[in-house]
Symmetry: C2
Subunit: 177 residues, 2 copies
């Protein structure tokens, strides 16, 4: 299907060599894994699909997602690792062992200088209900839906201070030009 974006400089059709590629995950470092797991499983309803320990390198990886079909998650650990890497919309949290005991350590959100990464984003079916849910869970807001220039867009912070945008698709139709 032709859409206007196909004519924008730089854009080209997907080469056949990229068939089967999947944008699988985004990795963020997390200082205190228990705190982050509690946040993402409760507030955003994510499932911990896989935990992988790397004792030689002193870190653990946690892979979280909201699977469309939880019954399809394999029980076998190796099969579940392969399943995890085949999904879309996965959040990988990296815990460098001992980070939770370092009083000087605070991860960088990418929005203060030096800038780079900006945020992750969840869409929700009902933005007002989500805003109430965040308040119920004492989530820290960066911007409420009625604040700032972009109405109907919420930004909250995760336990490490990373920004999480929250939008309702049906309210986003008029965004931008």
């Amino acid at each position: 299907m032709a859409i206007s974006e196909d004519q924008i400089p730089g854009v080209e059709p997907a080469p056949r060599e990229t068939e089967g590629f999947v944008l699988n995950h985004t990795m963020l470092r997390a200082k205190e894994p228990q705190r982050s797991l509690a946040f993402y499983t409760r507030v955003f309803g994510m499932r911990l699909l896989r935990k992988l320990d790397f004792p030689e390198m002193q870190f653990t990886l946690y892979f979280l997602a909201r699977p469309d079909d939880p019954a399809a998650i394999p029980e076998d650990d190796g099969e579940r690792t392969a399943y995890t890497f085949g999904q879309k919309g996965v959040l990988e949290l990296t815990h460098n062992w001992g980070s939770e005991n370092d009083p000087e350590l605070a991860y960088h959100d990418g929005n203060a200088e030096p800038q780079g990464f900006g945020h992750i984003c969840f869409s929700v079916p009902d933005l007002a209900a989500a805003e109430h849910w965040f308040d119920t869970n004492n989530v820290e807001f960066k911007k409420r839906s009625d604040q700032g220039k972009m109405k109907n867009v919420i930004f909250v912070k995760d336990p490490d201070g990373y920004w999480i945008e929250v939008v309702q698709p049906s309210l986003s139709k008029g965004l931008g030009q």
Copy 2:
């Protein structure tokens, strides 16, 4: 289905208030949009789903994804914006107007200090073929599949220097403990 990860401290079942939540996108700032669009549409076969301009705030957002069903992409701009925010596995690139003309500007990859964000990751059906494809396109490698402690894992860099991990799910079963 019960998996061993369900017993890890902090993890709890998804509350009903999170029904319909979708991990939609990850936002990275891009200095030169044409360069980044060429890279992500050609090398990773992504489709530009939506471009949103915000003249008042002097920035443009580019939303890229690999849609499962391209025929489902709406032609109407507003409908396409709503569709875009409902998908999983979307990459949002933010272009702050004029960044391409600032010789001092280089975005921060999150792996040098100060650390935070680490990388995005694509999974591919054939890691060796993907490595060859990256070479064909003169993509810069951070780590090839036969280098380092984690075999069968590739890291390449995007035009801004952000790290992109590349894995083949069927080769990942033995990763970690």
